[in-house]
């Protein structure tokens, strides 16, 4: 423990604590910008400089470990002058067109400017000295360098959390910028479109590509039937953008709001999450049978999940030789899209060309996924528009809906009924848990041997989780699995996904089934989720997801009555001909330049 003084108040902190965190313990707020709790310390924006008595220079509170006897002042004249200068400097290189900026009122630089740099600007405008263009090439996000303040949060995110490094620092001095490989457009580099950088950008330099206006146009087009689906992780995060604390479940209110926005049918991605479990579970059992019984290794093991489009792009670039290990199942979003313009349209007697399919996702990579040329198995673009959780919040505000006062309501039918197994898709380990709940019961006829169906070993925030499930008491059909130990692994965040993929690639791991989510925490920590997203917020959303599961009447995918019905009426059988046509896909080996 070390004892130091901050603004003349004494505080005792553990060794290694930064001055910033020590100040927090005293309730003293030091402004920061490049600092982010998910990332390593950078100490480069210098907004957090404070005065240490006796030191020649000011010190960056975020990067300086507290030391015994330090005498820190966070609001001295010297500090205030420097801080004002620094904020003014950042403003001078930032295109401050705040009123038309997507991040208006959500911009961390704007907040600082309000506190330190109102009135006349001190310094000259530097934006005009640079030839800036906006990179609109990615279907998922925009990159506007004129708003970039070079804090490098995005660079650290891409490298440390995602092991991708699609963006990095290029050039030096006045020309220093955040750039891609050879300055190529973001659509033409190894970028997974995960949007973790977007989620951490303090300004409007990185923002999701928004399709709000297109969705409004569809809603107001009386010829169009607009269906909307909502991903599991949206309902536990949307509230944050509408005045609720993290961890609030707003499912019912969200459904009401969507109806009030004018969507013709408010449906649930959870329905196709349940469907994914049936398809993917069947695929896993088939792969196991082929490998273990028939000695046919054409279908590779281990099988990786395929719900996360960021992960798909990652493996396509980095481990193209392992594409056969990916489940061929489409993600729940895309299964939904393919069914919306076939099964749903038929049932509702609609012309599929008049159906507009919108999805609300915690994810920016879903925008990319919807644009993939493979995703047109209905004969149309299966998903027309993808909106993030944040964009939905914007629409709700635009429509003047007082979210807090809304009466909760239920999803429409058909394709609106779901189970607790589907809801937990939103958290890391959730797909695994849902799959095990169904697969175990399928082969043994009994529920998974865990208290309350809660398979706790696959839950939690650890980067890579492993579990073994012993299969006992199999039915006649699955006798070959009797006594087998099903080895599973779960990874979230691409840096962890890479560890697992590498272990599989080099033969160092012997798993059967691996769940991978591109984003830290799974979809609850997706790139399209409310800002800020950090470990504490992710934990609250995760708790909310499991609480939502516990509140569901049905908690196993195969017990979803609508799922049973769709197989009877339309799909015939899992992994059958129709399924393969609509619900399964293939992958593309991509360059790793």
């Amino acid at each position: 423990m070390v004892t130091l003084k901050i603004n003349d108040q004494e505080v005792k902190v553990a060794e290694g604590t930064t001055v910033l965190d020590a100040a927090k313990q005293l309730g003293i707020i030091i402004p920061t910008l490049c600092n982010h709790p998910d990332l390593c310390v950078a100490g480069n924006c210098r907004v957090c400089v404070v005065e240490q008595k006796g030191a020649r220079t000011l010190i960056a509170a975020c990067a300086m470990p507290a030391a015994e006897g330090m005498d820190i002042h966070t609001n001295s004249l010297k500090v205030r002058n420097a801080r004002k200068h620094i904020v003014e400097l950042l403003l001078s290189e930032h295109r401050a067109d705040c009123t038309k900026c997507y991040k208006n009122q959500k911009c961390e630089l704007q907040t600082l400017a309000n506190e330190y740099a109102f009135g006349e600007h001190l310094f000259l405008d530097l934006v005009e000295d640079h030839a800036y263009t906006i990179d609109r090439s990615s279907p998922s996000f925009l990159k506007d360098d004129s708003k970039c303040i070079r804090c490098q949060r995005c660079v650290r995110t891409c490298a440390q959390l995602q092991h991708v490094s699609a963006i990095a620092v290029a050039n030096k001095g006045a020309h220093m910028k955040i750039s891609s490989f050879h300055d190529r457009p973001m659509s033409h580099v190894v970028c997974t479109n995960c949007g973790q950088c977007v989620n951490r950008c303090p300004t409007g330099a990185l923002t999701e590509k928004t399709y709000i206006d297109q969705v409004w146009d569809a809603i107001y087009d009386s010829e169009k039937h607009v269906v909307v689906q909502t991903a599991p992780a949206v309902r536990v995060a949307l509230g944050e953008d509408l005045g609720y604390d993290p961890g609030e479940r707003v499912t019912g209110k969200m459904v009401t709001a969507l109806r009030q926005l004018g969507f013709d049918s408010v449906l649930d991605t959870d329905f196709t999450a349940d469907l994914t479990i049936i398809e993917e579970g069947t695929e896993l059992l088939t792969r196991l049978k082929k490998n273990l019984v028939e000695n046919d290794h054409s279908m590779a093991l281990p099988m990786f999940t395929s719900c996360s489009p960021g992960w798909i792009k990652f493996i396509e670039h980095k481990y193209p030789h392992m594409l056969s290990n990916l489940s061929t199942c489409k993600s729940p979003q895309q299964m939904f899209g393919a069914l919306a313009k076939t099964f749903y349209a038929q049932k509702r007697k609609l012309d599929p060309s008049k159906v507009v399919s919108v999805s609300i996702m915690p994810c920016t990579a879903k925008k990319y996924e919807a644009d993939r040329p493979e995703m047109r198995s209905s004969g149309y673009k299966d998903i027309d528009f993808v909106l993030t959780t944040r964009e939905l919040a914007v629409m709700i505000k635009q429509a003047g809906i007082d979210f807090r006062t809304l009466e909760p309501s239920h999803y429409d039918s058909i394709m609106g009924t779901s189970t607790g197994a589907a809801v937990i898709f939103g958290a890391t380990g959730g797909v695994m848990e849902a799959a095990l709940r169904t697969a175990y019961e399928l082969v043994t006829g009994k529920p998974v041997p865990f208290n309350n169906l809660n398979i706790t070993p696959v839950r939690g925030m650890e980067g890579v989780k492993e579990a073994t499930v012993k299969i006992e008491g199999t039915t006649q059909e699955w006798r070959f699995l009797e006594g087998a130990e099903l080895k599973v692994a779960i990874a979230h965040g691409l840096v962890n996904a890479n560890k697992v993929a590498k272990a599989v690639s080099t033969g160092k791991a012997s798993y059967h089934f691996i769940e991978i989510m591109a984003c830290p925490g799974g979809c609850i920590g997706g790139g399209g989720q409310p800002i800020p997203t950090n470990a504490a917020v992710r934990q609250k959303r995760m708790d909310a997801i499991y609480s939502e599961d516990m509140h569901m009447d049905i908690r196993k995918s195969h017990e979803n009555p609508e799922i049973k019905a769709i197989y009877e009426e339309f799909l015939e059988k899992p992994n059958g001909h129709k399924s393969h046509e609509l619900l399964h896909t293939h992958y593309i080996a991509r360059e790793a330049y």
Binding site: A63, P65, G173
Partner: protein
């Protein structure tokens, strides 16, 4: 303050029997070596002037069995070219100094980070290195040296950016603490010393600290190699005892019309004629890594300043706000004032900004931009405005 006067010295380039000196050094204990260097009062010759003995002592105190000695030969300060001369003429003393430092700290490996533009020196340097490695093998001492090349970035002369560069990363300064003596190259305890410092250290071991302290002043012991350029009839490399005034220096090297001397390169200070008499060249006055640039009355100090600011605007790594944006603002600001597009009082705002850069920048680069800026603007304000 009483001046020492101008005395030419021949220590750095003096020929010595390296084998004899090294054998002597290797027979000493690490503490003895460090104590001798401490006693000599030697301060780093790269410009920052950190006591060399302390640096070695801190590194020696670290428990890690793996340590490094790094020679900073990324001589990039505008107007400095003395390290090139040292490498060209007496590189065996650089190697010797590294081996002695290695002995003092318990480091078995040394790196020399050589300025990219000095690549042409490499064949000769390798030849000498080969001879050196053979010699210490004969003495029976285990120490190896490797070269690493810079690629032209000024910032890579900053110690932690230099480590990043050697490690294969973008040359950006690190946060301090931790300091290199605890966590430097490859996160191992590292002593990083300038070329001239290492040579001087070897000479201190050769001659004994008592001899060395006879030179210089209390705060600035010894002699220093100066790179002298600008409006002088005799530009070049000169080794001079520390402690002379700028006036004495100008008397020797000026062309009779010297109006200012830039001491310490772009990151140093500009001394105007009226302060020549009272300014000592050394740590009690204006410290320098060796760059001495003389300007006569035909020179525009606006152009001089503009040139420096242009340099910094280009050579800032761009990582921290005060340096990246501050440099651009200073440059654009003086341009506007010169053109009459900004009020002359705007210079006062810029001086305040330079002060902020001095206290809030992450590394020495941004912290020292204000030196030249302030000293030129304050002493030659009319040349900036009109």
């Amino acid at each position: 303050m009483k001046s020492k006067g101008l005395t030419k010295v021949d220590l750095i380039f003096e020929s010595i029997d390296a084998k004899e000196v090294l054998a002597k050094a290797f027979s000493m204990t690490p503490e003895e070596i460090i104590n001798q260097v401490l006693e000599s009062g030697l301060k780093g010759r790269g410009g920052a002037g950190f006591p060399t003995g302390m640096k070695w002592k801190f590194t020696a105190a670290e428990k890690d069995p793996e340590k490094y000695i790094v020679c900073n030969a990324d001589e990039g300060e505008p107007g400095t070219f003395k390290d090139r001369e040292i490498l060209d003429r007496v590189v065996y003393k650089v190697y010797g100094g590294m081996a002695i430092a290695g002995k003092a700290m318990g480091a078995k490996k040394g790196y020399i980070y050589l300025r990219g533009e000095y690549r042409f020196l490499l064949p000769q340097l390798y030849l000498e290195l080969h001879k050196f490695q053979k010699m210490i093998a004969e003495i029976g001492y285990d120490f190896t040296i490797e070269y690493r090349m810079g690629s032209g970035a000024y910032i890579c002369g900053e110690e932690s950016a230099l480590f990043e560069s050697i490690e294969g990363f973008r040359g950006e300064p690190r946060n301090k603490p931790p300091y290199p003596t605890t966590s430097g190259l490859f996160s191992k305890p590292t002593s990083i010393n300038n070329v001239e410092t290492l040579v001087t250290a070897m000479m201190i071991i050769a001659k004994g600290p008592q001899e060395y302290v006879k030179l210089g002043t209390k705060d600035s012991r010894g002699s220093k190699v100066f790179s002298i350029s600008g409006d002088t009839p005799i530009p070049g490399i000169f080794e001079l005892e520390l402690g002379m005034t700028v006036q004495e220096f100008v008397n020797e090297f000026g062309d009779g019309d010297t109006k200012a001397v830039q001491v310490g390169g772009a990151s140093g200070f500009c001394v105007p004629r009226k302060k020549f008499e009272d300014t000592i060249i050394g740590f009690e006055g204006v410290p320098t890594g060796g760059s001495m640039k003389l300007f006569n009355s035909s020179r525009s100090m606006y152009n001089v300043l503009h040139n420096y600011l242009d340099f910094f605007t280009e050579e800032s790594c761009g990582q921290c706000t005060p340096c990246r944006v501050g440099c651009q603002q200073l440059l654009k600001g003086v341009e506007k004032v010169k053109k009459g597009e900004a009020k002359s009082t705007y210079l006062n705002e810029l001086v305040k900004l330079a002060d902020t850069m001095k206290v809030a920048s992450k590394c020495g680069l941004g912290q020292s931009v204000g030196n030249a800026f302030r000293s030129i603007v304050e002493n030659f304000r009319e040349e900036i405005i009109y």
